[in-house]
């Protein structure tokens, strides 16, 4: 999966599972936590999905806002993890 595809996968999942309303546009640099799109257990839901989808595993120390606060940050973090594999 290239960067665009990863970004789209993440955005679609958040759109369908947290925002619900297709009319609401999510900008890729918008803060998910700050905007109240995702709460603390929502992050876990997202991670559960990403682990299955990308066959990755995340440690507790990686579950921080720096990695998961925006679609862009999530994408960059995923790419880094995938490259390491």
């Amino acid at each position: 999966m290239n960067q665009q595809e990863i970004q789209k996968t993440v955005r679609d999942f958040i759109q369908q599972n947290f925002i619900f309303n297709p009319a609401t546009v999510l900008n890729d640099d918008e803060s998910l936590l700050g905007m109240g799109v995702i709460d603390s257990t929502g992050v876990l839901e997202l991670i559960c999905y990403l682990e299955e989808k990308f066959q990755l595993q995340f440690g507790d120390d990686e579950l921080i806002a720096e990695n998961f606060d925006t679609v862009l940050k999530i994408t960059a973090f995923l790419q880094k993890k995938l490259n390491k594999q």
């Binding site: 876990l44 991670i47 559960c48 682990e51 995340f58 440690g59 507790d60």
Partner: protein, 678 residues
């Protein structure tokens, strides 16, 4: 709906079954079909039937035979697609004398032999006796909605809808089977063929058993839950439907299943309303095909912790139904509990069947003989917490040392989020157990089975020693070959169906409580086509991360009030131990917990049980407080009490409980025409 029983001699060592014995066998279960009784016997067999007339009331008498009078049937249940099968059979040249589904079974068996059962869409337990080949065929529906038990000794086979029909023969020994007890104290119920009684077998759901002369027996499964393994199978079959399209297909299938269950009846069919999503949507679909009066029935509790009145009334108003409510108190539960156990015929760990016993009584009083219920939705569409717990434990198992991952439990149990940190920690530790077993069969059910197994500490030393030397069959024995290839949700669903739906819910809470008052349950979620469709659905349509029954919610939109679709799921429960502890509790409770009664039954360790009883009694002054007893103490209390009642009723004083004689309306005696020909 009906009751059946019979005796078949597979060798010539036995005399023909006597009318008197057949009479007391069917008399023992007369409440299953009090409208009329029938008997057939020949030199080697005797079949008896108690009928609750629902289809072809004038002509559907049983035992019934084919035209050649060499194939006889006693049948309990309904084949909902009998009209379609009849058309097919008529094309093959079969002639019909009645309009009953029973006759369709006879002809279907003549045409397709035992392959007929996989063509039936319904709920049944039946026996077919071929007087020429002298073979007996016993069969049960896919999920085991209708019960069937067997006892065999020295070439003599006894069978019956309930075990008490078999025990009506004084030659059948009555003793507790430690394996049945062990399974009950692990899975909540014994799993067929094991029963709580030594020597009595339950015919497994979805199976056929054939007996032939010379004491030969063969048994095979014609159905068991199976889940799609190829991701593209679903797309091929249904043309890659979107989630919304899939929800439409589900709605159509449920509508068809409910329609069959409303219209394939010659008496009015009512509906239960629990206040939850499943029964609401079924009642709504039932209402769609019923003009005029539509009867609905609900249980209310005087204890707010268990009560769902608000949603029941909301739904009844939506349906414009003739709605009947019963209010159940703790005292009611204690009063009827011995009768409930007479009908469950097994120990139970929860009192939840008791209110359903009282509800069917009110249905009977209202003159209704059949009701729809929402049973099966939680198993087919992943509604239970056990599935959500499994998903979180699976996720947690990727990083077992994570302190963050278990926070997801707060989502499904919001009370955790409000609990002190230490209490949460303890709860998390509970679910952590067995995390390393992620991916192994039974992972989903480990926490439940482990908690329930803690009840075994109350068993007597003799029983524990016996079980150690001779372990009980496990729910994980004989899993389907493909089990390991199924996704984790499918694996959990399979185990839930096999260990709880078929064994306890559809029996102790279903058929037995309904039939106690001659009421037939009809379950659209257990329709053959609905189950097939649900089992083929992609897992995420059922359990979308932690959202249960997602597709059913979608399919229900516009049918029932939003408030019911989106309310928090409340599992149906009734007050347990607390029902038996007030000052005015019936005397039998204290007696059954007394040292001498415990010593007499030799099942439990009296000292340990006394400890539990005193612990519970010491809280007598605080019975109004919710959450007074732990899950394990509740289950232990109810489990021990019900086991003691089973011993009393079925082993100690059984004969006194048998009903008086009954009169046969159908009486066909061929003992003189047939020869002892083995």
């Amino acid at each position: 709906m009906c009751g059946i029983a019979g005796i078949v001699n597979l060798t010539d060592r036995h005399d023909p079954p006597t009318v008197k014995l057949l009479q007391s066998m069917i008399g023992a279960i007369r409440y299953r079909g009090p409208d009329e009784f029938g008997l057939f016997r020949d030199y080697h067999s005797g079949l008896v039937h108690a009928r609750l007339s629902i289809i072809d009331i004038q002509a559907g008498q049983q035992p019934m035979s084919n035209e050649d009078r060499n194939l006889w049937i006693v049948f309990n249940g309904e084949i909902f697609n009998f009209v379609e099968l009849r058309t097919e059979l008529e094309k093959l040249g079969h002639c019909f004398r009645t309009h009953s589904d029973t006759e369709v079974v006879l002809h279907a068996f003549e045409s397709w032999d035992i392959n007929c059962f996989s063509r039936f869409n319904g709920q049944w337990a039946l026996a077919l006796w071929n007087t020429q080949t002298r073979s007996l065929v016993l069969s049960r529906d896919r999920i085991g909605v209708r019960p069937l038990y067997i006892y065999e000794k020295d070439g003599r086979v006894l069978f019956g809808s309930e075990m008490k029909a078999i025990f009506a023969d004084p030659e059948v020994p009555r003793a507790i089977n430690p394996h049945g007890l062990d399974q009950t104290f692990t899975y909540w119920a014994s799993i067929a063929p094991v029963t709580i009684f030594e020597g009595i077998q339950e015919l497994p759901p979805g199976s056929v058993r054939i007996y032939k002369p010379g004491n030969q027996m063969k048994e095979m499964l014609y159905w068991q839950p199976s889940y799609s393994q190829e991701s593209n199978r679903w797309e091929h079959k249904y043309g890659s439907p979107t989630f919304a399209e899939a929800a439409n297909i589900l709605q159509e299938k449920l509508e068809q299943a409910t329609k069959l269950r409303m219209l394939r009846s010659d008496v009015p069919v009512g509906s239960y309303l629990s206040g939850g999503l499943d029964s609401s949507v079924i009642a709504r679909l039932g209402r769609k095909v019923k003009e005029g009066r539509f009867n609905t029935f609900s249980i209310r509790f005087d204890d707010a912790e268990f009560d769902e009145t608000e949603y029941q009334r909301m739904m009844a108003a939506t349906l414009n139904s003739s709605h009947k409510e019963i209010i159940v108190t703790k005292k009611d539960i204690a009063l009827v509990f011995p009768d409930v156990i007479w009908h469950t015929e097994r120990p139970i760990l929860r009192t939840a069947p008791a209110p359903l016993f009282l509800l069917s009584k009110s249905v009977h009083k209202a003159g209704i003989k059949a009701v729809l219920t929402g049973e099966g939705a939680d198993e087919m569409l992943a509604g239970y917490d056990i599935f959500r717990e499994m998903m979180i434990r699976q996720f947690w198992s990727h990083q077992p040392n994570s302190k963050i991952r278990p926070l997801l439990f707060d989502r499904i149990y919001p009370y955790l989020a409000r609990s002190p940190q230490r209490a949460r920690g303890i709860a998390y530790e509970f679910w952590r157990k067995g995390l390393e077993r992620a991916g192994s069969p039974g992972f989903s059910h480990d926490p439940r089975w482990q908690t329930t197994s803690s009840l075994k500490k109350f068993l007597s030393k003799d029983i524990l020693n016996m079980l150690e030397n001779n372990p009980s069959p496990s729910a994980l024995d004989d899993l389907p070959a493909a089990f390991n290839k199924w996704d984790p949700l499918a694996q959990a669903q399979y185990l839930e169906i096999k260990t709880l739906l078929s064994t306890y819910l559809i029996s102790s809470q279903g058929d037995r409580m309904l039939m106690a008052h001659s009421v037939e349950g009809r379950f659209p979620f257990l329709d053959a086509e609905v189950m097939q469709f649900c089992n083929e659905l992609p897992a995420e349509h059922k359990l979308a991360f932690l959202e249960e029954k997602r597709i059913l919610k979608k399919a229900s939109a516009g049918l029932i009030p939003k408030a019911i679709i989106h309310r928090n799921k409340q599992p149906y429960r009734a007050p347990d131990a607390v029902s038996f502890l007030s000052q005015d509790t019936p005397q039998y409770v204290q007696e059954l917990f007394s040292d001498h009664m415990l010593e007499e039954s030799r099942i439990f360790n009296p000292k340990a049980v006394r400890g539990l009883y005193e612990k519970c009694i010491s809280k007598r002054d605080y019975l109004h407080k919710p959450g007074l007893f732990s899950n394990a103490d509740n289950m232990a209390f109810v489990g021990i009490l019900s086991t003691q009642i089973v011993v009393q009723q079925f082993i100690e004083t059984f004969e006194q409980k048998l009903e008086a004689e009954i009169e046969f309306k159908t009486f066909i005696d061929h003992t003189q025409n047939t020869l002892p020909a083995y």
